[in-house]
């Protein structure tokens, strides 16, 4: 029955009645904020912050599989964080260390 599956989810130890649900759910806000910042010029990005986002994402992807209760929501959000962080870092590095590539693209 669909309602009992929903009930199982509702009552899950990492479900919506617990902080184990809302904290990771909100963590998506960091990745969403980062995606919103994809359109910001790289000069405005912060190396320290994006490094922190990337490293946190990678380490926490592992952490979320060994805590109790195991938290796949937390796992997926940290994979996303690592992904957006890596992308932002690559944009900034490209601009700071490979400016000729940018100029060549701009000319076309």
């Amino acid at each position: 029955m669909a309602s009992s599956k929903l009930q199982a989810l509702w009552n899950h130890p990492a479900g919506p009645k617990t902080i184990h649900f809302w904290a990771p759910t909100f963590k998506w806000g960091i990745s969403i904020a980062n995606v919103a910042d994809f359109s910001k010029p790289p000069e405005k990005l912060s190396y320290p912050q994006q490094l922190a986002v990337t490293c946190t994402g990678i380490i926490w992807s592992r952490y979320s599989t060994v805590i109790t209760p195991k938290n796949w929501n937390l796992f997926s959000v940290n994979v996303a964080m690592a992904g957006t962080g890596l992308y932002q870092l690559s944009r900034k590095i490209k601009q700071d260390y490979f400016p000729d590539a940018e100029a060549a693209v701009a000319k076309e």
Partner: protein
């Protein structure tokens, strides 16, 4: 020596991911402090605002998770402080906090 050994072998010690996860999160605090004197135009309101809500929620998470994680709790208390400060700098730079002046950009 004995207390170091206890720490080294602790179920939330440096041989476990329960230690390194929170250590990674101190990166946010370090990044915030590194950026503390940057001009407010360089601060991302999106990211800083998200960080403030995130650290508030994770203070609670650190308390409730098994095993309870005081290192993570300390990290998020610190991050909340740093990020709120950065958020106030950003807001001031945007003109959101200048209530005494008549000519505020938010009006």
């Amino acid at each position: 020596m004995a207390s170091f050994r206890a720490f080294w072998n602790s179920p939330v010690g440096p041989k476990t991911t329960h230690f390194w996860g929170p250590v990674a999160n101190w990166g946010f605090v370090a990044a915030g402090l590194a950026d503390i004197n940057k001009p407010p135009e360089m601060i991302s309101g999106n990211m800083t605002g998200a960080m403030c809500i995130y650290s508030a929620l994770f203070m609670r998470f650190a308390w409730m998770v098994q095993p309870r994680n005081y290192l993570l709790l300390a990290c998020h208390v610190s991050n909340e402080t740093v990020q709120l400060y950065q958020l106030s700098r950003w807001a001031k730079g945007q003109g959101y906090l200048s209530q005494k002046k008549e000519e505020s950009t938010s009006q």
